[in-house]
């Protein structure tokens, strides 16, 4: 059955396109961490704002820095922050949501009230506030965005635990004398994996977008380290003369998000029976 399902995902052109785009993004991020054609922060005043050419595939910026190298180095930061954020929000949210749904009672009520209150802050506003308090570093957006995305994970996991709690295998585990913690960790949590994976994919996309937005505002990754949002922000000063500066990072970001969205949709069709096409 499982393999059959994977066969269907590999036959969908959208899923394949999404997967390829994600692989390119990951490859770019790994390459950016290992090797870039030029030093991404090396200034070269003799080659300022050169258009795309064989020596500089994507041209150079106002400091003569190679745009392709900066794009690759930026991928490490952007993809890394988004990945860690999705990981933290998902695991913490799953733990909180599962505990709340399983225990019920006052704990559940408090958690739900807190999550509703958190939802009242748009993710970016929350991140801005935390940057104001802790000043900007790579960690601030990770913490801020993880907190901002927590409620969506908590809600999804809690909802599926509420359903699972009443199922026979949970009763069986308790009758066998397993503690509530063991039952929760070993029997309930594994069954919430499917919706959580679908959500984690979306979270990764949201975090990638939000991190770029923060860097665009000048409140994310501090310069001279490159980030896609920061590159877009800098490009505005040389808009008319060097449009390639604005096109390259935007395309990289859009194609990555497109890949995440396409692949996420395919995963949802595959893993979430409720959304499955008839």
């Amino acid at each position: 059955m499982r393999e059959g399902r994977w066969m269907t995902i590999t036959r969908q052109p959208n899923a394949i396109a999404g997967g390829v785009l994600i692989l390119i993004m990951l490859f770019g991020a790994i390459l950016g961490a290992v090797h870039t054609p030029y030093d991404p922060i090396a200034v070269d005043f003799f080659h300022r704002l050169t258009p795309p050419a064989p020596e500089h595939w994507l041209g150079t910026d106002e400091w003569g820095r190679d745009v392709l190298s900066r794009l690759l180095a930026g991928a490490v930061v952007s993809v890394g922050i988004a990945g860690v954020t999705a990981l933290i929000a998902t695991s913490l949210g799953a733990l909180i949501g599962a505990t709340a749904g399983f225990l019920g009672g006052w704990f559940d009520k408090v958690v739900i009230a807190l999550m509703d209150a958190l939802l009242a802050f748009p993710a970016l506003i929350m991140a801005l506030a935390l940057v104001a308090i802790f000043s900007s570093s790579a960690f601030t957006p990770i913490i801020a965005l993880s907190v901002a995305y927590l409620p969506s994970v908590v809600r999804v996991v809690r909802a599926s635990v509420l359903v699972l709690r009443r199922s026979d295998f949970v009763d069986a585990s308790m009758v066998m004398g397993n503690s509530r913690a063991i039952t929760l960790l070993r029997h309930i949590l594994p069954n919430t994996v499917a919706p959580v994976i679908v959500l984690a994919t979306s979270l990764f996309g949201w975090a990638l977008l939000a991190e770029s937005a923060l860097s665009f505002l000048g409140l994310g990754t501090p310069p001279p380290a490159s980030s896609w949002g920061g590159m877009l922000s800098d490009s505005r000063n040389y808009f008319a003369d060097a449009p390639w500066l604005a096109v390259a990072p935007g395309l990289a970001l859009s194609l990555s998000l497109l890949g995440v969205n396409l692949f996420g949709d395919a995963l949802r069709d595959l893993l979430d029976p409720r959304m499955q096409k008839p």
């Binding site: 807190l114 009242a120 802050f121 970016l124 506003i125 104001a132 308090i133 877009l232 505005r236 949709d265």
Partner: protein, 314 residues
């Protein structure tokens, strides 16, 4: 109906209070004397003592919070550190700018998404459906700020059709004001339309599969009548909720679009206050964003039974 509305309002109050408490305590998390923080880098013992009294710092924390809430109700959000003006005087005009960007954007997005989504769902799995869905997925994958930049490049720099950056209130000069808003509104609207189209399509498909649609068709209603009279109103219920969530989120979340187009909106004000460490203004921005979000969602929930009469009794 009155009871339904009252329940919704009562449910929104604890959420709002908790969110306001979070804002209050967030600023208290910053190390140092809160009064000095609110005053900025100024050595003025008299002003410090005045602020200390305004914040009721000699009282226990819950009393301070209550005191702060009472001042909020009176519209007193403190004094800006850097801009020499009461915070409330800064917030209102900024909020008006953001609303003049976000409300038309959401309206345009809905006007695009509802017909496109219904048609795509109705003609499910046809070429038209695939084309609409591909465009929608493309649209929602493009960051609004990049789309904004590309719009500026094409319409502002190359074609020279529209003003590139700045803001003129449409209340002062209608045409000029609108010309400054066209590009930012469109760059937000197209992306939100991408999200909405997918939702409208999914709800349309779900409604089309229900028994009463088969019944309506069996009665001999034309396909157009079935769609307009039976499918559309029912598919609107989840869409309406999503429109509310989008509007509520954008009132605070249009920061980046405001930055791209240099619009003096709420998000821009907050970013500038973060740079300036102007804590009273940051706090004020968060309050107004939260209140706006909770109120818009409350309004959406209250009006929800128009589309789904069953929800009223639930």
């Amino acid at each position: 109906m009155t009871r339904y509305i009252l329940t919704r309002v009562m449910l929104a109050i604890p959420t709002l209070l908790l969110a306001l408490a979070a804002i209050f305590f967030l600023v208290r998390l910053i190390p140092g004397d809160p009064a000095q923080l609110m005053l900025g880098d100024v050595d003025d013992p008299a002003a410090l003592a005045r602020i200390r009294q305004e914040l009721a710092l000699d009282q226990p924390l819950p009393v301070q919070f209550g005191h702060w809430l009472l001042q909020l109700l009176r519209g007193d959000l403190g004094q800006s550190i850097t801009l020499d003006s009461p915070v409330s005087d800064l917030l209102l005009p900024s909020f008006a700018v953001t609303a003049s960007l976000v409300v038309p954007a959401v309206v345009v997005a809905a006007l695009i998404a509802i017909p496109a989504g219904v048609v795509a769902g109705w003609k499910q799995n046809t070429r038209l459906d695939v084309a609409v869905m591909t465009l929608a997925t493309l649209a929602l994958s493009i960051p609004s700020f990049w789309l904004g930049l590309m719009f500026l490049l094409v319409f502002g720099v190359y074609l020279n059709l529209l003003p590139v950056v700045g803001y003129v209130s449409p209340l002062e000069d209608v045409w000029q004001g609108l010309s400054y808003l066209v590009l930012p509104v469109m760059s937000l609207a197209l992306i939100e339309a991408g999200v909405l189209i997918r939702l409208v399509r999914a709800s349309t498909i779900e409604v089309l599969g229900l028994d009463y649609i088969a019944h309506a068709r069996a009665k001999g209603l034309t396909e157009a009548a079935v769609i307009v009279r039976h499918v559309l109103p029912n598919a609107m219920a989840p869409t309406w909720t999503m429109i509310g969530l989008t509007l509520g989120g954008l009132l605070g979340g249009a920061v980046v679009t405001e930055t791209v187009f240099s619009l003096p909106g709420l998000g821009r004000l907050m970013v500038e206050s973060v740079f300036a460490r102007d804590y009273p203004v940051i706090q004020g921005c968060m309050v107004i964003v939260t209140v706006a979000y909770v109120s818009v969602n409350l309004l959406t929930e209250i009006t929800y039974p128009i589309f789904s009469p069953g929800a009223r009794d639930a």
